[in-house]
Symmetry: C2
Subunit: 442 residues, 2 copies
């Protein structure tokens, strides 16, 4: 039995599950509190998720946007970090279940986020991977790079075009960013690397079910993103609901689009653990919480970050699934716990302060809304850069990412084009390597 501060102490035990923006912020905010904190995550790192698409598109390495949670919290003595996966919890008894045993707690904070939703069609998952984890990003990177390798040696013209067709499903920020980056790779990064294919002919299609892009941002910015993408050569299909995905393409209504590469950025749902708790969920499988982010009937059980569906007095407020909202929720709940420890009764509901949103589209192109002002083009892109470099967890990572960007800005290069690991799918057809002796072409 490990002799540690938590098991020895009689201080209240705060169990935080999930080391994303919400959970990490909550733990940090409790640094001075007279509690023992356990922060659990199924990974050993905190991920700067807004830049994950850059790992998927070979611009950054995983280590550029992720840092061990232990390292981030190494100086905070009232927290222990565990790499574990929550299986369930008895909210009444205040006991959480893990494969390695049970843990009792005084406060439970669920911050496990969301995962991809295929709207009931989980069979689409292997055909159209989503982008939520580092391993997802590496899988997508692998597929993108293998597609060019396959095309280079594909003898059949139609099959070669299918290898060079990339469809991104979902026109939110992730979809827009992925589509833009995919087009930049094809048009700027790899053309000179291949001998048999003209990579600038690679087709990037962005499919969105609604009638506009970036639904969470003002309409004008959605329009601008559409224009920018079209100017870059991305084919954008609005009002297009994907009705089926098969190996080799997808169906929109009666139309079949041929593509060897499909990426899913369309929907999210609450992480699986939510279903095991026996509490109220919304249609996306997120946990319905009161205005103070606690679960009805369990005032010391909180849900924060993307997993929370906030109701109550301010239920009119739309809280987007972004880092900023997660951070604010983490802070709020930490303060709530401190308030309870001081036995104060006044209880203010959580109110989300929208400091702005943004999406990048490509080199010199982004859209942003900040404090009611809207920005587009190069200036928005600069703002985006600043906002995404500065929060990065430590000094070194900041400089590395900045350096990678400045470099890739001037060189138009992507430096992380490595195919590592085994792909979950195998390249389906053999490369069309031609024996010289069999060759009868002119």
């Amino acid at each position: 039995m490990p002799v540690d501060s938590v098991t020895l102490s009689k201080k209240p035990h705060v169990l935080i599950v999930g080391g994303g923006f919400a959970g990490l912020q909550c733990a940090k905010q409790l640094a001075e509190a007279e509690v023992n904190i356990t922060l659990m995550d199924r990974h050993n790192y905190h991920l700067f998720q807004p830049l994950l698409y850059q790992v998927a598109t070979a611009a950054l390495s995983p280590a550029d946007i992720a840092a061990p949670i232990r390292r981030i919290l190494r100086k905070q003595q009232n927290v222990r970090v565990v790499m574990e996966t929550l299986l369930g919890a008895d909210l009444e008894a205040r006991v959480a279940n893990f494969s390695s045993g049970d843990v009792s707690y005084d406060y439970l904070i669920l911050a496990t986020g969301v995962t991809h939703s295929y709207f009931g069609r989980d069979d689409w998952a292997p055909l159209a991977p989503g982008l939520k984890t580092v391993d997802d990003a590496l899988e997508i990177r692998r597929r993108i790079l293998l597609a060019y390798e396959a095309a280079e040696w594909e003898a059949d013209t139609a099959a070669r075009q299918a290898d060079l067709t990339f469809i991104v499903v979902g026109g939110g920020p992730t979809g827009v960013e992925l589509a833009g980056a995919l087009k930049e790779i094809a048009a700027q990064t790899v053309p000179k690397d291949f001998r048999n294919i003209n990579t600038t002919t690679a087709k990037v299609v962005l499919v969105e079910a609604a009638d506009r892009l970036l639904g969470a941002l003002p309409e004008k910015l959605g329009m601008r993103a559409l224009q920018d993408l079209q100017q870059m050569g991305v084919e954008v299909r609005l009002n297009s609901l994907v009705t089926d995905i098969q190996s080799g393409g997808l169906t929109i209504g009666t139309e079949f689009l041929t593509a060897e590469n499909i990426i899913w950025a369309a929907g999210v749902r609450g992480s699986d653990i939510a279903e095991n708790l026996g509490v109220e969920l919304d249609q996306q499988g997120r946990v319905v919480v009161a205005a103070d982010l606690s679960i009805a009937g369990f005032p010391d059980t909180y849900v924060i970050g993307d997993l929370a569906h906030v109701t109550g007095k301010d239920s009119g407020q739309q809280i987007p699934g972004v880092a900023q909202a997660a951070i604010q929720m983490g802070e709020y709940v930490a303060k709530e716990i401190c308030r309870k420890l001081r036995e104060e009764t006044k209880n203010k509901p959580f109110i989300y302060t929208d400091r702005g949103s943004m999406a990048t589209i490509g080199r010199n192109r982004a859209v942003a809304t900040i404090a009611g002002h809207q920005f587009t083009g190069f200036f928005a892109w600069l703002i985006w850069g600043v906002v995404h470099i500065f929060p990065l967890v430590n000094f070194r990572r900041k400089l590395t990412v900045l350096f990678a960007w400045v470099w890739s800005y001037f060189s138009r290069s992507k430096n992380v084009r490595l195919i590592t690991g085994e792909s979950k799918i195998k390249v389906k057809k053999p490369f069309g390597i031609v024996s010289q002796e069999d060759d009868n072409s002119p």
Copy 2:
């Protein structure tokens, strides 16, 4: 059928299999030759193998030491790059076999290198992974980091010590570098990250069958490496032949050493393709070649790099399996082919010019022999740094690696401590998470 330069042209076709130091150098050296080159590799990247142990020990990201072969050769118009695995070849008919079809050639250059050898005990492979590829390095990194995670939550003292015991088998440069880096992680990098374990008590054991370390270097330097490692706290066991490896430890004669983490750096053998060629192999499965690096009876089939066992007039010369020798062989064969194209008959045998060897042991510690002079300590470490940064493939990577090093030198930190992917082994035992209510410790 792809219409490309090779299939259209009547120029001689040079097929190079393997994009390591030897194959890449050979392709580059043929840039001006009137030939068509196909460079094949099972990966899409060239790997700077001497720094691979730094990926395994979380100091560098894969992209810091690897670059797409296509990118390196993008400006060389007489080469095409294919990501493929050689299955076999009919040396008489000059046809190479791949899963995707056959390729005919005029010159074949085999540069597929070596892989780990477990001396007939391939069942040891999952228990003691070796370090040859990027995926190997990521697997070892995963195991090292998971070992600390497991130890942190292990209740049993003996089991915890086993989690914190790392055995490296093999006292060559890779083994020495790994052992030194493992000790640095334990003593300098992670101590503050954990709450329940004192990572400075982690045990690193280096096991070597011979009576000295770094057998390929002068004896004095092997002695110095031994002293340096011992000073750092590594337990070095010379004259220790590993007779068995099981889950949880290994056997040396009658002694069983308990350890949850074993890394294999003891032996190499020629890559599998060598066996399929029906040619003479040495005891390590490397291809026996004549003094001009060609296979007896097949003057236009060459073997270069680690896979070659050179015989002939200068058979007395020991050619070590290092980057330098591979590069020299690649250059030599490229010149040989040019000579044949010019139909000159004079044929000088390959002679290896030893420009020196070195191994790093840790911060400020290395051993090197250069042009007959021996260096140790800080100065050798500086030389090692310079020698290993400057050949790195492009400018950006050079700066990134330099930056990562300078940073980790001053901060004593390792920034790539991410556990990604699924480990080939599962962590065997559940973490000893203690319920607070069950806890009766004082």
